[in-house]
Symmetry: D2
Subunit: 346 residues, 4 copies
């Protein structure tokens, strides 16, 4: 008997990824798909412009799309709603008693909403007891670029402390949704600007690495500078990072911090958890989106090219699958953690 | 009566760019083409795998390719030779009395060889009087990524001083020559590594911004950290830069420093000089390789997105056409400056 | 004293190309820019999302965009209007006495409207005397893919007759306008369908190659089968063509028909006319969009790989710059022909 | 107890695909890897420039690469050897008693060598009894573009007969091996030529569709014309096809022929066989490489856009995964068929 779950924004690009990743999930089973008025009432296969490389799972294809109103046949909903409308709809569902696992940015900075990465700040889940939604609650996952960065930083924060982070991203097209980036803007080109992205990368990690005290998050003390670019890659954000640590460390120690890093999702054997949250690649040409984004179910972060930085302490490259680990997969892992730790009452 | 010039490595990608840019040049006329044994003796049109979007200029197409020996019918040679062989051949030509304008890296750090960008360090040309090549001499231009960076920094260095530079590049495919980067390595991908590139970007600016004292260059005091990536762009390197200045400055002052910047090539009306060495774009989405690389003959550097950096002082984006300003065009401008200022005796 | 011309749909992608190609035109001068309500009243630089690789010409940048109503200060208008609205607006202008040179499909099959390619059917201009627009008139140019195909076929039609044409296209992204094709649909992909394109390619050539008799076009007898695809190319449509001729011919004769082909635009030295309408490339790897689309001002068609076809008679490859020869440039050449031959009274 | 198999040319791109597809194969187990002198003696992980998106299977990574001499510990070898050397090496292995399943072109037209596609001409396997290799034998699979074409044609050949085929391909980069196509030749470009490809597509189907009579293949009577292009797609060849049938048929009949098609690999439940050899897509935009190449293990052919052809009878689009169905996967299916039908004695 699997747990029925619903998807809000089921026809969009994040919604489609939820469907792909929840197909044959050992714990969850899609029981409801909700989207905009335009799609409601239609069979999913007709409502969605499906662009997955797998077929729409058969049971999902035939399911009728519903409106985004809190009368879905499930108690957990994954939200891939557009931020233009996510805020209110998610609250409606929470108030109606649903556990809302959201990928949207709207509630990320609500003081009582966890901005959750299971390997990084599982203790922040305690915040939901502060929420005023009755039996329901809202849990968010961070921006896709933030997730990659924070996962790579976590082992360093834990062992050595991180004071300063400078990061330049080369982000994939799928991060902009569909239709998203026009081909005329990106073939033979780079776009050195992604609206709102740098602000998210500079602020979200402070909450995620923050300390839970008196039912509140005290933000971490860390200075982050981000420069965000769009490049002609379908999936997988590459980030060039420099860090200043709080205490001295050798290259070997940093690499060891990454490769030995393990956390609750691994210890609890959550089904969507990667075997290792962070892989380090010795080959100077790696990591690369095309080669590494799908490894370990697309849920791992890949680092490489660790070397001294003449300004801060160290620099390195990281890669994260932006729509899996950085969005739908991350949200599903959040739900798995919450379920396993008793934060979801069915 | 134009001045006859030769091209060493004429069939390679930099050589081809020299030919394109010297076509209809008001001062220079190609009189000799030299390349490897394999090409020598053939008409150029047959020896070269021409990939310019213009046709091979007719007179060049029929010219017989010569060996790279110092018996060419000219006194100036532009060298686009591969670094594997450039060192010795360039010296041979210099010793035989030729003015060698080189794009190769071999002699860039010879203490008596100028690493020249006409808008930046024209006074370094005095170094050639220290050379032991008789009537000949060698002048080099920097790496393509360095040229873009240094041109954007120059107005800031001049007005405010620059102490620290952190730069992450997204470099074009043409920078790797032909056949260069395999398509399987770059379609839907990023390569976060370019052999030797970071070292060049971190060291060359110190010489270029260095001070000429007692016939020697005293390197500038500046700390540079570079992270270099290859992306699926044909021409045009994009660089994300953060800088720490020596003295406080407002955004307006920085932008004004760029837009008002002018130097000897502009004052001397050198034919290949851009009207403005640096353009600043107010649109947050700019500069972009596809849109701006060819403006002002491909010889200008484009900056944009100036904003405060929470770690250093400011961050911005720059764009440089790597094979024009960053290679062949830069070398031709070097020759024009030398000629105009009397460093070349014909 | 240049002739003032207006551009309808000036902010769109075809409109932008008109502006680029009319900049420094020896006969014409842009005196009016018109676009939708949304743009009207704004300076052009602000109204347009300019994506040309050159800057907006200064005089154009400052010009105020007007509404598409027939009160523009000129007597010739180039129309790059969207087909959703082009039909009526173009008629309004014609009725008000303007010469309308249109790139839109709306009036292409009006029996009294020439579907004009100056090298192919200049005699069809006589049709405009049948039009009921008073002093005004409408002249259209064909679809971008059709123009390339018809120009390559014309020398064969003239000398040998062409009975049957099978063509498969690989079309550029710029043909779909902006934002046009989503990057997620074309990076690492091919789209084997372009709405309405095959129908145009199968029907338009019949009118263009038709015979003017009793003030009417009798369509040519020719069977055409087209298969149209979109590929990740910015500019330049590549077409693989097979033809059955009416009379036997050798490869040499076909190539000679192409290379010796010349027509009124060349004979009249029209400023936008290519030196040669058709180039034949002997290198089996050519023509290629990146290499050849811009040659001869982007106005020539390039053919290559002529060889026997085991089903029809011959097969070959052709390339046409879709937004220059296939759209704005073709339309400007139409205007030049009309002016030179006295079809436009100023 | 799985059957040990070897891979010749194990470090190349086809070799790598064999390794990926044989990983966890229910019948076969890789017991030997052989490659050129340069690689021999090294652990596979070191010898190969692995570009799979999965990791090298652990047991393979550690395996020492051997020379391509017939002393490998297995009785079946898959050959992904370069055609420059494949001919002789494959014969050596056959003579030494190995069953050689080759992807190379060298022996495809040997009169006693089956050019095998299990769904199309399994009866041709009888040819191997004519071979003079003792206990060994050579079986080849066709060119990647041919395999896609022939699989889509087979149901039509069977039911209606096919007289004439005109095909234009848009082929993926992986078909050229590694490093293969230079990025400068294909970003923002199409290459309308692939050496030898058209000849293969025009000749191989005649043998495959040929009739086995008196231990010889009588080639099919079919006229094929092919035009082959390279486009910027990583995997998946798209082909635009027109066909003339021997007997009239409706669109519905053709589609039904495809969707109901099944053959020995399906009936025998061969592990690598797709559920359906051919899928028909009703959406006019399909099939597309990015969306459909990996469906059904990458072993199915996808057709779409069936419509009347004004010259021949019908036209349609097909898609085949060139390195899976068109190369390594096809070869593995050949081996599975041979094993199941008793053509391989262990």
């Amino acid at each position: 008997m699997k747990i029925p779950v619903g998807i809000l924004g089921a026809t969009g690009s994040v919604g489609q990824k939820f469907i792909q990743l929840l197909n044959n999930h050992p714990w969850f089973e899609i029981s409801a798909l909700a989207a905009s008025e335009k799609s409601a009432g239609k069979p999913y296969a007709e409502a969605a412009n499906w662009f997955g490389s797998d077929q729409i799972p058969e049971n999902v294809a035939r399911m009728t799309v519903r409106n985004c109103t809190p009368d879905l046949n499930c108690s957990i909903v994954f939200s891939g709603l557009d931020s233009g409308i996510a805020g209110e709809i998610e609250e409606d569902f929470a108030r109606a008693g649903y556990t809302v696992i959201s990928n949207s940015r709207n509630h990320r900075f609500d003081p009582d909403v966890p901005l959750l990465i299971p390997e990084v700040n599982p203790d922040h889940l305690e915040l939901i007891h502060q929420q005023k939604y009755g039996n329901g609650c809202i849990v968010t996952n961070p921006n896709c670029s933030t997730i990659g960065l924070v996962l790579a930083l976590k082992p360093l924060v834990e062992r050595f402390g991180v004071k300063t982070v400078s990061v330049t991203t080369m982000q994939a097209l799928s991060g902009a949704g569909y239709p998203g980036v026009a081909s005329l803007d990106i073939v033979d080109n780079v776009t050195p600007y992604i609206s709102g992205e740098e602000e998210k990368m500079e602020s979200e990690p402070l909450k995620i690495f923050g300390t839970l005290q008196n039912n509140q998050i005290r933000p971490a003390e860390m200075t982050i500078s981000a420069q965000c670019n769009r490049v002609a890659v379908l999936d997988g954000h590459t980030e060039c990072v420099s860090v200043k640590l709080n205490q001295p460390a050798t290259e070997t120690e940093l690499i060891s911090a990454w490769t030995s890093f393990t956390a609750e999702p691994q210890q609890l054997s959550l089904p969507t958890a990667p075997c290792h949250p962070v892989y380090y690649h010795k080959d100077a040409r790696y990591p690369q989106p095309k080669l590494h984004r799908n490894r370990d179910k697309g849920m791992a972060v890949h680092t490489g090219r660790l070397r001294k930085d003449p300004i801060l302490d160290y620099k390195f490259v990281l890669l994260v699958h932006n729509t899996v680990r950085g969005a739908a997969g991350g949200a599903i892992l959040n739900a798995e953690l919450m379920l396993k730790k008793g934060y979801i009452k069915l």
